[in-house]
């Protein structure tokens, strides 16, 4: 058995020991995870980002990179009250460009495309009835009604809003079910590692 498997096996057991109660072995494993993760991200960021995308091309003569370098250095101005205003320039550039890129994209992909998919024809050209389309349409209208607060949820509006809550509950139930499935998969994956690779109890 290689050293990596032994370390991974012992650390998995250390993390699982939290299920009994908080203890020093768990705390050690947790601290190690945080430290290693941050260290790894720092190394990757340094080598794949700062070196590859900034310093190497800058020293090769790409002088335009002085602009992002300067904006990046301005961000460090937040650490001192006298230079904090410099960081606002960088933040303004980030927010301005970020919003400029994101707003039209989100409007198109999250709103227009999703809305057009929600109002699909209920009867297709060959005459077949689109039951899924009807469910989506009723679900969309009733759920939106539930989140319509300008009118009291009474009478017909109240009934439609109530129907919306049922759709929401189905969604929450489905999402929760999938989340339980996901967590079980993670645990099973770890158990498979422990039993097969670490303890060699199964093949």
């Amino acid at each position: 058995m290689d050293v990596g498997t032994i370390i991974a096996g012992l650390l998995t057991l250390a993390i699982l020991s939290f299920l009994y109660r908080d203890n020093i072995v768990y705390k050690f494993a947790e601290s190690l995870l945080i430290g290693v993760s941050i260290g790894y991200v720092l190394v990757i960021t340094w080598s794949n980002t700062l070196m590859d995308l900034l310093f190497e091309p800058l020293f090769d003569g790409d002088v335009l990179l002085v602009i992002p370098l300067t904006l990046g250095l301005f961000m460090l101005g937040r650490f001192h009250p006298k230079t904090v205003s410099l960081s606002r320039i960088s933040i303004a550039v980030m927010i301005g460009s970020g919003a400029g890129v994101a707003i039209p994209t989100m409007m198109y992909h999250r709103t227009i495309k999703q809305l057009s998919a929600s109002i699909a024809p209920l009867v297709s050209l060959d005459g077949a009835f689109n039951i899924t389309g009807l469910v989506v349409l009723v679900g969309l209208i009733s759920t939106l009604t539930y989140f319509y607060f300008s009118r009291e949820h009474k009478g017909a509006v109240g009934k439609v809003a109530k129907l919306g809550t049922y759709f929401l509950m189905v969604f929450f139930g489905t999402t929760f079910g999938y989340t339980v499935m996901s967590r079980m998969s993670t645990f099973i994956g770890r158990m498979e590692f422990l039993l097969t690779d670490f303890l060699k109890l199964t093949q």
Binding site: L19, Y20, S37, Y40, V41, I44, T45, N48, T49, D52, L53, P57, G98, V101, A102, T105, M106, H109, R110, K113, Q114, S116, A117, V136, F171, T174, T175, Y178, T179, V180, M181, S182, R183, M184, S185, T186, F187, I188, G189, R190, M191, E192, F193, L195, L201, T202, Q203
Partner: protein, 268 residues
Amino acid sequence: MKNLLPRHYVFIGLFLVILVTMALNISLDVKVSPYTQKLFDKIDALPAGSLMMVSFDHEASSLPEIRPLALAVLRHAFKNDIKLIGVSLFPEGTLIGYRLMHNTAKEYKKEYGKDFVYLGFRPQYVAAILSMGESISATFPQDYPGNDYADIEMLQGIVNYDDINGIISIADGSLITHWIEYGGRYKLNIYGVVTAAMVTTYDPYLASGQMQAMMGGLRGAAEYEKLIGIDGGGARGMLAQSSAHLYVIFLVILGNIIYFRSKKSGKN
């Protein structure tokens, strides 16, 4: 035993259920869902020599669930002689993706630089996705091991998304949304390989046609393994997962019985 709380018994029960079912080492037969079938059909329809991009957009913590999914789709691609470009938009996914691609490529005797290549990590996923849409070589002047883009045989003539057949994003979070939103600008075919927890998030994108196909969770991996004829981690875990689900249902019913009985008897 005196110190054990009710939750400890719940954990012990779950541990025993999974331990016993895994010790049985039985691969449960699964019915392939239309989701997984569609992803399989899309990849299977690609002719040999087609080029796909695989993005490892996940963290290390979700690896136990992601690994069988990633292996299933990588094995299918290599089996069908599809060339793969690996990238990662998550720092933690970088080395995991590199190792997964290398180990799977070895199984099919695929050569680095000719059959697959790993470009590594780029920060700021929006910028990275948009940048690759213009020029992959400008985004990744070198691959992960440090070879120049121009020197890699497989990448000759590959400029941007126009030259690849699609992207398979292996994700445990919302990163596929960015592939859909920003990669969608370039008419990029997007395929999702996700953890079960993310299936409901991406379902609307699948229904609207913004994402071409998707598979999710350990069950998705088991279904895909069945389609490609491999007995992998997904199929092996199915009995344990089904038993664990039955155990959770049993606990929910038991909890409700206890609740209603205590309510009836006036206890808190």
